[in-house]
């Protein structure tokens, strides 16, 4: 396998982008990445697009062809592929791009992710998001997507003593980081009380325990490492990629307080990179719900099972902590346009490893990790990055 580098990154603001269409945001992010990589259209060999629900959000399928067309690449007839794995669509698209370059099939590959969620009603949006869970045996029986995560939280509190306040601390930290991120959907700090007083969504999770719906897109440009210096001074290598699946329904998992797929995907990524958890300096994890970040930092190996809440409360995952988690603000504060999230995580890690993360910069960040989850953990993709 060839070694693969990221030579360019780009993203839109995340939020309620009323004036921009799906095509607009996809192209905006892609153009920014391509400009950042100093490449031209004719150099692009293939395109991968992560997107979960365009068919229902904007009644449009066939996304790969759509983005290639509006990027002006139709007459170059490049292979364009849409990748879907619910919330992990973006991370999975990145992996598909990585595989394409690593295998030698393509040289320069653009990988993007985009989602336009705000054009439908809240209720419709919730229904679309719930299709990440098991429709026949979870959703139809009354379990909403937040309810499933609430079931995880309740059980985690029961088995490991995690507290309501510790869940809130995840949101507080991520909003703090988000306030330092000019592209974040939410840029205001919040207090524990804000979370605890927000409206109940599904007990014990409240509104501020849940990432928002967002519009947004992000993209990266990949090329073989040995070519990268032609395009950028600071290529960031993808040193590890791991993917894992698990039961679709939460109730079929061995232990609902552990995302096995996270552990397996991480192990596969670390094995490929020949590194361990201790080597990671900065991590973007999938915090669509506060409890999800707690599970993630445990299952990725940063803390022992059951210790995630306490570690967060102690500030060990803050910008200055033992392991800086979700420096971008995470899904919670930066926003979560579903298909874009996996790429947004990569964009943040690359910025950190380039030393270009501004006020959010983690000192001497050399190795970064991105963790992207689909459904309640039925798909997980983990990537490791290192300054080349």
């Amino acid at each position: 396998m060839r070694r693969v580098a990221i030579i360019g990154i780009g993203d839109t603001e995340f939020g309620e982008l009323w004036d921009l269409s799906f095509r607009d945001i996809g192209i905006q992010a892609g153009l920014a990445a391509v400009a950042d990589a100093n490449i031209t259209a004719d150099q692009i060999d293939a395109l991968y697009v992560g997107n979960m629900g365009a068919g229902r959000f904007i009644e449009q399928e066939h996304i790969g062809a759509l983005i290639a067309d509006y990027a002006g690449l139709a007459r170059d007839h490049i292979p364009a592929t849409r990748v879907e794995a619910a919330g992990a669509s973006g991370g999975l698209a990145l992996r598909q791009g990585f595989q394409a370059v690593a295998s030698g099939l393509h040289d320069i590959v653009v990988v993007g992710g985009a989602e336009k969620m705000m054009d439908v009603s809240d209720v419709e949006s919730a229904m679309i998001q719930s299709s990440a869970a098991d429709q026949e045996w979870e959703t139809i029986l009354g379990a909403t997507f937040p309810a499933l995560h609430a079931l995880i939280a309740r059980r985690h509190m029961h088995e490991h003593g995690t507290t309501r306040e510790q869940l809130a601390d995840v949101a507080v930290k991520n909003h703090k980081n988000g306030s330092l991120n000019p592209k974040a959907q939410f840029q205001r700090e919040i207090k524990r009380e804000t979370v605890l007083a927000s409206p109940m969504v599904s007990s014990p999770l409240r509104m501020f325990d849940c990432a928002p719906s967002s519009d947004g897109a992000a993209a990266v440009v990949l090329c073989p490492l040995d070519m990268a210096k032609k395009f950028t001074e600071v290529p960031i290598e993808i040193i590890g990629s791991g993917q894992a699946s698990d039961t679709l329904a939460l109730h079929h998992r061995k232990d609902i307080c552990t995302m096995e797929a996270t552990k397996v995907a991480a192990r596969r990524a670390f094995d490929m990179a020949k590194l361990t958890t201790k080597d990671v300096d900065v991590a973007e994890v999938h915090d669509n719900f506060t409890i999800s970040e707690i599970l993630a930092i445990e299952d990725l190996g940063f803390f022992k099972k059951g210790e995630g809440g306490r570690a967060t409360e102690a500030g060990l995952t803050s910008l200055e902590g033992e392991i800086a988690v979700n420096t971008s603000g995470g899904l919670k504060a930066r926003g979560d346009p579903i298909g874009a999230t996996g790429l947004a995580q990569a964009v943040e890690i690359v910025a950190q490893l380039r030393g270009k993360a501004g006020k959010r910069q983690v000192k001497d960040a050399a190795v970064g990790l991105a963790h992207n989850v689909g459904g309640t953990g039925a798909t997980v993709v983990v990537h490791l990055f290192r300054r080349a």
Binding site: W137, A143, T144, L151, I152, R154, H158, P199, H251
Partner: protein, 147 residues
């Protein structure tokens, strides 16, 4: 929500908790599948339809405030993962009780209720929900008796 044929196909499981037993490994699963998730092809020809008794214990529970349209009339309502006596876990609403009646470990039994309707002119979908019980004979929790 589900269309009529898609929902109808699963009636035996939704009305009567029909799952399956793998006669290769002896375990019971829900819902029915073509092959046992553990034994794979060794289970072909050894899959036996099995009806769960309908009793189990709450494994985790949440009170849902932000609901899907179909259930807006019942919010807030309880949803739980229930570990059935035979082993499989199911997800469903817990009804006919106060939220304080239900905790991890509460015994429950199954009841047939309306899950949703495809609008006021559409098909009504019936399926399983859970009711807390006080004892193993399936009698209801007695909080107040009217004479």
């Amino acid at each position: 929500m589900a269309t009529a044929p898609r929902f109808w196909r699963e009636y035996p499981s939704r009305y009567n908790l029909v799952g399956f037993k793998c006669n290769n490994c002896g375990k019971t699963y829900f819902p029915p599948r073509a092959i046992c998730p553990v034994c794979h092809r060794k289970s072909v020809g050894k899959i036996e339809e099995v009806k769960l008794k309908g009793t189990g214990k709450v494994y985790s529970v949440t009170e849902v405030h932000d609901t899907l349209d179909e259930l807006a009339m019942m919010k807030p309502y309880l949803v739980a993962i229930v570990e059935m006596d035979e082993g499989p876990k199911l997800t469903g609403q817990v009804i006919d009780c106060e939220p304080c009646d239900v905790a991890i470990g509460t015994p429950v039994r199954v009841a047939l209720r309306k899950l949703s309707e495809e609008g006021s002119a559409g098909v009504i979908h019936y399926g399983y929900k859970f009711v807390p019980v006080k004892d193993s004979t399936g009698g209801s929790v007695n909080i107040r008796v009217m004479t």
